[in-house]
């Protein structure tokens, strides 16, 4: 999916672009409101991530303008301001959600997913590999016609595998994607979740393969 990130802090922006890119999203970065307006004029976006304090104006006025233009692209506001009064004001102005800096990337991903699910339904973002249909927004995987609900970490694991089928991911990479930094987990914890996903994929033509000493990959049998 295509996201627009409006954020003037270059380092934070680069990190967000990289992180969301891992999920297969294309993120255009606009450092100010003018660039953002140009981007919006040129392409359609599924989601806008909007910082509030920008060099050439206030994100809140952008939000108002965005809503009066009848543009219903969902917006998640990124802000470092105090939560008590701002949060409600943002939602009143038409923001779909709100996340306070600094944030955990897993939380940002989760909020993006929740907003997208709420706003556009699940139909548009299914990924198919062989006879497996993975729907990250609905949180389901369909294997040879039967649908399974996915737990959060199973979903994130499949997101990683579906972003590059047949590619080998190291255990430490998977740990980084599945757990937030403050959960101290050994790399073996990954085996539990891989085991659960394997169970759900049983009966289809897709399996998760252990590459000894390196990691895992999703491949077709």
């Amino acid at each position: 999916m295509r996201f627009l990130l409006i954020e003037d802090n270059e380092k934070l922006a680069a990190a967000i672009v990289e992180r969301l890119g891992l999920d297969g999203h294309v993120v255009d970065h606009a450092p100010d409101l003018e660039t953002a307006a140009d981007c919006l004029a040129g392409t359609g976006y599924e989601l806008i991530l909007l910082d509030i304090m920008l060099p050439d104006g206030d994100g809140r006025s952008f939000l108002e303008w965005h809503r009066t233009c009848d543009n219903d692209t969902p917006v998640i506001v990124l802000t470092a301001r105090s939560e008590v009064s701002d949060r409600v004001r943002m939602l009143d102005l038409g923001a779909d959600d709100y996340i306070t800096k600094p944030f955990d990337f897993s939380e940002l991903e989760a909020r993006c997913r929740a907003v997208l699910r709420r706003r556009q339904g699940a139909a548009r973002n299914q990924k198919t590999y062989e006879d497996v249909v993975f729907d990250p927004l609905a949180g389901t995987v369909a294997v040879a016609g039967s649908v399974f609900e996915l737990r959060n970490r199973e979903l994130r694991l499949l997101e990683v595998f579906f972003s590059a089928p047949d590619m080998i991911f190291s255990k430490s990479h998977l740990v980084d994607r599945l757990f937030s930094y403050d959960e101290e987990v050994s790399e073996n914890a990954i085996e539990v979740y891989v085991g659960r996903v394997r169970k759900k994929l049983q009966g289809g033509r897709v399996r998760i393969e252990t590459v000894r000493g390196v990691g895992y990959r999703m491949t077709a049998t």
Partner: protein, 461 residues
């Protein structure tokens, strides 16, 4: 807050003063009418006495050295017209009685001038008014002073003056009553703008800082102007404080966000476990300080808004569902399900939505933070007789066995949660919000299974 005691009432003071003035004026009216009427009655009597004396005097003549006085009937009958009065007369020539009652006292200066003189005296046990009219009369070749004295009792006059007094008193009382009524209306009328102003100030809540009135009687203008200036300054100062708090949060959190982001990127690229550990600690410290800074500023904001509550009618179930929706992505990360149950009735509470959302958010944040993966958080809303209760039940590690009273104190934290980031301000904020709304916060064990039950009780609207 300073309580203002009422001392005296402007309305009563004004009314009393007007009534006092009315009373003085009524008395003055009474006396004036009485004196004038009495004078008029006396003048009338004097005029009749003079007319009578003149008639007698004119009837006197000198004949062969004798003074003859034929008292004409009319002279006495004109006096007799006043009922029940007794009439006396005496004619003297050079102080010697010619005819009449010779003991009728002559006024001291029965002058020789030909001008009448009047006197009031007691004669035969009654008060009488005496008129003396001197006249020169030539008797033979000498001139004598002929004085005609006519006297009349004043019984009738006393009766008339009593009547007049009664009438004057009635007029005075009537005047007093009328002006009393008018004073009452005038006072009410004069007080109306003041009452209106007092009511409009009273009706507005303490958080309404808009100008009081745009027009007022001249006397109230300086007061209103000062009040409005004060309100404007107060609201500007409150707005500045709110802005400052929001900005301060921004300035603290933005660099922390950069630190956190960079560390997280670095965490993915380093291989050595000890380096990873260092970066984890950096991130943890950044999180801790950003959380503390955020909570401190939120706490300041809550304190500011609690003093100045913006109350509206709220449906607690809707409010709870809003908060649950906003927090569920974080809960999803740990596969925690949040359910909301409770009466479908309004569960109405009057309060500041921003503060109450924040309080509930803090409770749910805690619940998510301390719950294990794959667990359930229940939000239950129930209504008492005059309260609305919101229970947040989790299946987490519970409150621990230590002393629980310090949990809501500033920076107080449970003994069993040292490994989880927290500022120790969350529950303090919740408690402050709840008590500003006249409610209470209770922390107990989850009765169904291990975990905590946090209950907010708020007075229903």
């Amino acid at each position: 807050m300073t309580v203002v005691h009422a001392r005296g009432s402007l309305r009563r003071r004004l009314l009393l003063q007007l009534l006092l003035v009315a009373a003085i004026l009524s008395f003055a009216l009474y006396f004036t009418v009485r004196v004038l009427a009495q004078q008029a009655a006396e003048t009338t009597q004097d005029n009749i006495l003079i007319a009578s004396a003149t008639a007698i005097s004119e009837a006197a003549r000198a004949e062969r050295g004798q003074i003859l006085v034929d008292v004409p009937y009319s002279a006495l009958s004109m006096l007799g017209s006043i009922a029940e009065e007794r009439v006396f007369y005496r004619v003297t020539a050079n102080d010697l009685t010619v005819t009449g009652y010779d003991d009728l006292p002559a006024p001291a200066r029965a002058a020789e001038t030909g001008k009448p003189v009047f006197a009031t005296a007691i004669y035969r046990d009654d008060e009488v008014r005496i008129a003396a009219l001197p006249r020169r009369l030539t008797v033979g070749d000498e001139t004598v002073i002929l004085t005609v004295l006519v006297a009349q009792t004043r019984l009738g006059l006393a009766a008339v003056s009593l009547q007049i007094s009664i009438a004057a008193a009635a007029a005075g009382i009537g005047f007093f009553l009328l002006s009393g009524a008018l004073s009452w209306f005038a006072t009410n009328n004069a007080m109306r703008p003041l009452n209106r102003l007092a009511k409009s100030v009273e009706r507005r809540g303490p958080q309404d800082l808009s100008p009081v009135a745009t027009s007022a009687p001249t006397e109230l203008v300086p007061l209103l102007q000062s009040l409005n200036t004060f309100m404007a300054r107060l609201s500007a100062s409150l707005a500045r404080t709110e802005d400052f708090i929001a900005e301060a949060a921004h300035h603290v959190r933005t660099p922390l966000a950069t630190v956190r982001t960079q560390s997280e990127i670095a965490l993915r690229s380093v291989r050595k476990p000890e380096n990873k550990q260092i970066l984890r600690e950096v991130i943890r410290a950044a999180d801790e300080s950003s959380r503390s800074a955020g909570q401190l500023l939120d706490h300041a904001m809550v304190a500011l808004r609690s003093d100045n509550l913006e109350k509206e009618q709220l449906n607690m179930k809707d409010l709870a569902q809003d908060v649950i929706r906003s927090i569920s992505p974080t809960a999803d990360l740990k596969d925690i399900r949040i359910t909301c149950s409770g009466s479908d009735t309004t569960s109405a509470v009057e309060g500041d939505p921003i503060l109450l959302q924040n309080a509930l958010r803090n409770l749910l944040d805690n619940a998510v933070k301390y719950s294990p993966e794959d667990s359930r958080i229940k939000v239950e809303i129930s209504e008492g007789a005059s309260t609305v209760r919101i229970d947040v039940l989790d299946e987490g590690r519970g409150l621990g066995d230590g002393d629980r009273s310090h949990l809501t104190e500033r920076f107080g934290r449970g003994d069993n949660v040292r490994d989880i980031i927290g500022s120790g301000l969350g529950l303090t904020i919740v408690e402050e919000v709840v008590s500003a709304h006249g409610g209470s916060l209770a922390l107990t064990d989850n009765p169904e299974r291990r975990g905590t039950c946090a209950s907010l009780t708020l007075p229903s609207a």
